[in-house]
């Protein structure tokens, strides 16, 4: 299943604002060819539109911006641990320092990767998982946690 969802992590990221970080997600998505290269603006708008419907900022500094589009070729999970927290209108009002950006291709609706993304979301509700993520300092340790709490292997 791991080949179905592309996962990338970055540490000590400086973003400055929510918009900048979303831009980073889109750029990265194109870099790993999860997003069609000519659809940069479209995907960026898709993220913002989702934020308008309701914030994706959760509690305890996590945010899960996500976008679904036909211009997304491949499901991907782009993880950013931020150097400095940014404002995300999160549910508990706390600034965000851990971002899980999610890219979902429209055409694959209803398939296994959606399940994985929902598992990621559930994982972020578990205190143990959050503790592990908070102390994680490498891609491996983050992946270990993800593997522990989801069906990704």
């Amino acid at each position: 299943m791991s080949e179905e969802v592309k996962i990338k992590t970055e540490f000590n990221v400086t973003a400055g604002s929510k918009e900048n970080l979303i831009q980073k997600i889109v750029d990265k998505g194109i870099e790993i060819s999860a997003i069609q290269s000519d659809s940069k603006d479209e995907i960026y708008q898709a993220f913002l539109k989702r934020e308008e419907q309701g914030t994706t900022g959760l509690v305890d500094g996590y945010a899960i911006p996500h976008a679904e589009s036909t211009a997304i070729n491949h499901p991907a999970l782009l993880i950013y641990k931020l150097k400095e927290s940014i404002e995300w209108e999160s549910m508990d009002g706390k600034p965000v320092n851990f971002v899980f950006g999610i890219l979902v291709p429209t055409k694959q609706k209803g398939t296994a990767h959606l399940k994985i993304l929902s598992e990621i979301a559930k994982m972020l509700m578990k205190k143990d998982a959050k503790d592990q993520l908070a102390s994680a300092d490498s891609e491996e340790s983050i992946m270990r946690t993800i593997k522990n709490y989801t069906s990704i292997d």
Partner: protein, 473 residues
């Protein structure tokens, strides 16, 4: 069968993350609180962990944490807490706490109605239909709680007739002690029909205090022969009176909340509803009797018109208030020794499930496997006078199915009246055949109606399926 104290439904516009986070949060919170919960998710993948009708029925309370429609009409009559998906994630503990506290911030079904409709913004200008739906919801809450009383009471009464129609009467030669007990028990259960009906209309409107006022008012309607009509009046009067009182007493200090719930509201509610019902009993009784006379008047003079009226009423909402109005008229007339009227009502109530059986059997090709199976199960439901079996079919395609059911029911009822069949039992379907006068004609009437209704329903389904197929080409 598993039971959950709490059931929930979560959903969000994209259906990728929040839906499941709210599910997880609610499950965790329930575990912490030590209560069982099942949470249905409305995500991108579709509906998962789906709640069955049984599970919804058995749950004490429903928590909806969603920013999109989760088919909340399924929860009609349940205590529902309806919040945004975000609140479900953020405040799951508090939601569970509120759910268990019972009276906390529980919303009435009318509130949920308004809220979801405001959210979707498509119905906001349809105040009247909104109100109509709310009233119907309250009515159905009454009907659904009343039904088990009717079925158990009716079946027991019917059973007692197996010893002979007068087997419960000590003066009769047929007298049998077992039959007499069955008859008494069945009669008590049937007698609770109107009070329970009125009580749970009140409960749907304003919860427990409404239940009390409606129940007492319904009992008065029952004892004064104000009947079903009186029950409707008592339920709505009691329910809305309590709402009004709650508004009136809003200014009272919070410390008196307990007193309000257990003393002030019930006492004033029962006083006003009860006295009003007692005073209105006379006039309502007159209307009620006039209505019944109007209906039964057709019996001798015009069996066809009566058959059509009864058929349409019985099939109109399959166990809903319109069906029950016909049914209750039948039971009251039974009490007065009129066994003809009930025969038609029973026929019209038995036919709809059987119609779905015939339709799915005659036109197998055009129905899903699932439909064909439920069609077969409906043989049992129909034969035992449980009209509700036809509801799933009617709900899927009311415009085509309802007229077919009405047609079949009308034919069954009309033929029953023309054959002069007498059914002395208030329920039980074909179980009571031994005590039916003209049993063969009765079954024949029902079968003819069901076959014709089934042919029409199946044919309409065939046309729908075919036009859909050609439409996609």
């Amino acid at each position: 069968m598993s039971e959950y104290k709490i059931v929930g439904a979560t959903g969000c516009p994209t259906g990728i993350a929040h839906t499941y986070m709210a599910q997880e949060a609610l499950e965790q919170a329930a575990e912490t609180a030590g209560v069982s919960i099942k949470v249905e998710t409305h995500g991108q993948i579709g509906v998962e962990n789906q709640l069955s009708a049984e599970e919804i029925k058995n749950a004490d309370v429903v928590i909806i944490a969603s920013d999109k429609d989760v088919q909340s009409e399924r929860f009609t009559g349940k205590r529902v807490i309806d919040v945004s998906v975000g609140k479900g994630i953020r405040d799951a503990d508090k939601l569970i706490e509120q759910a268990l506290a019972g009276d906390g911030k529980v919303l009435r079904s009318s509130d949920i109605d308004e809220e979801t409709e405001n959210e979707s913004e498509s119905y906001t200008d349809e105040e009247s239909s909104n109100f109509g739906r709310t009233v119907y919801k309250h009515l159905m809450n009454g009907v659904s709680h009343m039904l088990p009383f009717v079925v158990s009471g009716g079946v027991l009464t019917a059973l007692s007739f197996l010893w002979g129609i007068h087997s419960a009467d000590p003066a009769s030669a047929d007298y049998n002690q077992v039959a007499a007990i069955l008859n008494t028990v069945g009669g008590v259960s049937m007698g609770l029909m109107v009070p329970v009906f009125a009580g749970f209309i009140g409960d749907s409107i304003s919860q427990r205090p409404g239940l009390v006022a409606g129940f007492v008012g319904g009992m008065i309607a029952h004892t004064t022969e104000a009947g079903f009509l009186g029950g409707i009046l008592a339920g709505f009067l009691g329910g809305y009176l309590i709402l009004f009182l709650q508004k009136l007493l809003k200014g009272m200090p919070k410390s008196l909340d307990g007193l309000k719930a257990i003393f002030i509201l019930p006492v004033i509610g029962v006083l006003i509803t009860g006295v009003t019902m007692a005073l209105l009993a006379g006039p309502v009784e007159t209307i009620n009797i006039a209505m019944m006379n109007f209906l039964s008047g057709f019996q001798g003079s015009n069996p066809i018109v009566l058959g059509i009226i009864v058929g349409i009423m019985s099939a109109a909402d399959m166990g809903g208030p319109i069906n029950k109005a016909a049914y209750v008229t039948g039971t009251v007339l039974l009490g007065q020794g009129n066994y003809y009227f009930m025969a038609g009502v029973s026929a019209a109530c038995i036919a709809p499930p059987l119609i779905t059986t015939f339709a799915t059997q005659f036109y197998k090709k055009y129905y899903s496997k699932e439909d064909i199976n439920s069609g077969l199960v409906n043989i049992i439901l129909g034969s035992t006078h449980i009209t509700e079996g036809a509801i799933p079919f009617a709900a899927k395609d009311p415009i085509r199915v309802l007229p077919s059911l009405m047609l079949g029911s009308s034919i069954a009822a009309t033929l029953t009246y023309m054959f002069g069949v007498q059914v002395p039992a208030p329920h039980g379907g074909f179980l009571v055949l031994p005590v039916v006068t003209g049993a063969i004609q009765w079954v024949l009437a029902i079968l003819i109606g069901s076959v014709i209704g089934g042919l029409v329903m199946g044919y309409l389904q065939k046309r729908t399926v075919e036009s859909q197929a050609s439409g996609t080409n």
